[in-house]
């Protein structure tokens, strides 16, 4: 079927502000939006710019605003979107570098700020550290994150204040705070108890809806805030 693809485009070398452009592409129902973007780029206009790599939802390159929601272009099928017109725009709330490419530096800086790495104080044992399957299960969900930024950039609280550390960083903090092998949960809780930390979450759930990995993000955020409360009690 024919699909009208409306893409918000911006080339800093030519445009003063972003503008929408429309493309007609032929698509099958199982085609994904990424396939359509490729068709435009390869058959109509090679200057169309977007990131992508794995093409099956595991690398986190191609999160963008599709029909008003953040999703991975490679993981959303045309038939799931219904309708003959699809709008595509860059992730909201981050500076646009060109077309669908946003500057991710601040996003990764926030990720780094929560000490997203295991810190165990006891010396490494000869063999693996033991961990029960139950203890492992507690943080299973938050290990799935691929740092695509769909969540953080869907959050109205983040749009309002880009200083908000954002759901993605909290998810990654959660992954270590609740790892029984880690000894530095308190440090991360301190970072997240900051004015730009978890308190900025207003339980809006856009993040959870947007996450292509199906992570229960809001739950993770609230588990972290509960932990902060517990920690100070």
């Amino acid at each position: 079927m024919q699909i009208e693809l409306r893409i918000l485009r911006f080339d800093p070398e030519r445009d003063r502000k972003p503008h929408e452009e429309s493309y007609q592409v032929e698509a099958g129902p199982m085609d994904r939006v990424l396939d359509l973007l490729h068709k435009v780029k390869y058959e109509q206009d090679g200057t169309l710019t977007f990131r992508r790599s794995c093409a099956h939802g595991v690398c986190g390159s191609d999160a963008m605003l599709i029909n008003g929601r953040n999703r991975l272009a490679c993981k959303i099928r045309v038939d799931q979107l219904k309708g003959r017109r699809i709008t595509v725009a860059p992730l909201p709330g981050l500076p646009v570098m060109k077309d669908l490419v946003v500057d991710m530096e601040s996003f990764f800086a926030k990720f780094r700020s929560v000490q997203p790495y295991l810190q165990a104080d006891d010396p490494d044992p000869e063999r693996e550290r033991r961990q029960s399957a139950e203890d492992r299960e507690v943080f299973d969900d938050t290990t799935k994150c691929i740092l695509c930024a769909a969540c953080t950039t869907s959050c109205p609280s983040f749009w309002a204040q880009p200083s908000y550390v954002g759901p993605a960083a909290i998810v990654n903090a959660h992954r270590f705070i609740f790892d029984s092998r880690d000894d530095h949960a308190a440090d991360r809780l301190d970072v997240l108890a900051d004015g730009d930390g978890v308190w900025r979450c207003r339980t809006i759930f856009n993040c959870t809806d947007a996450c292509p990995r199906g992570i229960h993000i809001t739950q993770a955020i609230l588990e972290v805030s509960s932990k902060i409360v517990e920690h100070h009690a």
Binding site: L65, N67, G68, R69, P92, G93, S154, P156, W159, R202, T203, I204, F205, N206, T208, D209, H216, T218, Q219, A220, L222, E223, S225, S226
Partner: protein, 128 residues
């Protein structure tokens, strides 16, 4: 962005919560002021209060009541999720439940408050 992003229930719940919160806050400013006035200038206060009994006043009151009720119920929903994070999995259901309670409580209130505006007797009477 706020208007372009297609959020679902969670985003609506928040938007209403914020709007109702701010609205109720604005009313509180007025309300504390009028109570204070009742002390300093009871006459003026009584004049002011008669406004509350007018049809327009009653409509505003109903809206206020709706805002307070929504905000309170959704506030409860938020608190439940804050202290039992696993309930976030049912946040949509909780929100729908809010609306059910909202309607069940709201209808008698609307009838009670609005009836006099149409010259009818208030449906519920407490002998007071």
């Amino acid at each position: 962005m706020l208007f372009r992003y297609r959020g679902s229930e969670g985003m609506l719940a928040w938007a209403f919560h914020r709007i109702s919160g701010v609205a109720v806050w604005a009313f509180i400013l007025l309300h504390v002021f009028d109570i204070w006035l009742a002390n300093v200038n009871p006459t003026l206060y009584n004049d002011l209060l008669s406004l509350y009994g007018s049809p327009a006043g009653r409509t505003v009151e109903t809206a206020l009541g709706a805002a307070v009720l929504y905000h309170a119920l959704n506030g409860l929903r938020i608190i439940i999720m804050d202290f039992w994070p696993s309930t976030t999995r049912y946040h949509k259901q909780l929100w729908y439940a809010n609306w059910v309670v909202f309607v069940v409580i709201g209808i008698p209130f609307v009838l009670q408050i609005m009836a006099p505006a149409f010259g009818l007797a208030a449906p519920f009477s407490f002998g007071g």
